[in-house]
Subunit: 236 residues, 2 copies
Amino acid sequence: MSQDSFKSYILKKFNISFNDESLLTEALTQRNYLNEHPDEKGRDYQRLEFLGDSVMQMIVAEYLFKRYPDWHEGQLTEMRIAMVQTRSFAHFSRMVHLNEGIRLGKGEEMSGARDRDSLLEDIWEAFIGALYLDQGADVVRQFLNQTLFAAIDTDFFDRFIDFKSRLQERLQTKGSVDIDYQTEKEEQLSDNTQLFEASVSANDKELARGTGKSIKDAEKAAARAALKILEDNVNL
Amino acid sequence: MSQDSFKSYILKKFNISFNDESLLTEALTQRNYLNEHPDEKGRDYQRLEFLGDSVMQMIVAEYLFKRYPDWHEGQLTEMRIAMVQTRSFAHFSRMVHLNEGIRLGKGEEMSGARDRDSLLEDIWEAFIGALYLDQGADVVRQFLNQTLFAAIDTDFFDRFIDFKSRLQERLQTKGSVDIDYQTEKEEQLSDNTQLFEASVSANDKELARGTGKSIKDAEKAAARAALKILEDNVNL
C-alpha cells in the first residue's frame, strides 16, 4: 500500500480526506527517507509526533473522564496508561494500515522497522497530530470512536492492565490481607489446548473464579472478577 | 480571599465567569476538607486534576508547535517540560490567587499546604480542567495567553532550562568537543552583591560570554548566548 492507497483507504473507511495532504505525507515520512531523497522538500514525522502525543493524551483523558463519571483519578489514570502506550498504538497503526503507508529509509526497511512497535507508535501519534491540525479535535474524536474507544467495549485493553496488582492494592487499603490464588480445574480441550480455572481468596474466603488458557490468564481473570464484585458492592 | 472573591477576581481580571460554579468549587476543594464537612456534597479536585493535566500538555504543545515552526521536536519538548511542571504551575497559581481560594483540611492548613508547590500545581491543573469543561478550549487558550504564554516573552521559563547541557548536546552532535567555562570578570556592585562574567569556549575557541550574579548564572548566560549564535547561524 502506498501513501495514495492509504489516502483512499481512510476516505472509504473513515470518511477522512485531508485538506492539506502535505501534512499526511509529513506524518508518514521517516527521517532517513528524506536523507536518501535530498530533492524532496518537507519534514519527517517528528514534530507531528510531538503534537499528536499530547492530543492523544488529552482526548483519551477527556473521553474517560466523561464516560466513567464514578471512577476516581487512579482508575482513570490506569486506563489511560493502558490505552496510550506503545503496544496499543502499534496495534491500531496496523489495524488502519498506517504501517503500509510509511516512507522509510532503506536501512530501516531492511531491518524490519515497518513492523516495529516503537515506529508504529510514533507514526500513530504523528498521524493523529496531522489529523488534528487539518481537521480539528472533533474529527480526531470520531476517528478514535471507531478505533481505540470501540476497543474498550471488547475488553481489548484488559491485556495491558495488571489486575492482580490492582486487586492487591484494593484489598490492602485497609491493612494487610492474605491473598491466595489456587488452580481449581484443568481441562484438555479438543484443539489440544488446555483450559484452567483459578480462584482467588482473601484471608481464606473465596472472592471469585476465572478461566483462561494458562494458569496466569485464569488467575488474572479471577482477579478481574473479584475487582468487579468489589466495585459493584461499593456502588450499591 | 474566599472562593467568592476568587470568582470576582477572575471575572474582573480575565473576564471568566463559570456557567456551572460547582465545577470551580470542585477544582478548589481538597480531600480532607470534605472529610471534615461530611454534609457537603461534591468531590475533591482530583478528577479535574487528571483532566487538566492533559489539557495543559496539549494546549501548550499546540501553542509551541505553531509559534515555533522552525524548532525541531527536541526543542519543543524541552520548552514544554520547562512550562508544564510543578514550579511553573505553582508560580501561576499564586499569580492568579488560586492558592487563596482553596478549601483545605485543617491539618493541611496548619502544615502550610496552601503555599506548597505540589498542591498549587494540582490546583492549577484542576482549575484548567474545570475551565476546559465549562468554557471550552478557546477560553483556556485565552487564559493561558494572559499567563503562561505571556511569560515566554519575559524569558520566565529560562530558569527551568539547563542551557549548559543543551549547549553540550548541540556541540557534541558531530563528535567530541572540549567545552570550557572561564570566569573572566568579577565586579562588586553598590548593593553589596557581585556580578560575574563568564566565557564559554569549544576546543579553545571562545563562543560567547554571559553575566550573572553568581558564577553559575554567568556560565548559564554564556551557554544561552552561545546557543543563540549557533541557532542564528544555522538559520542564515
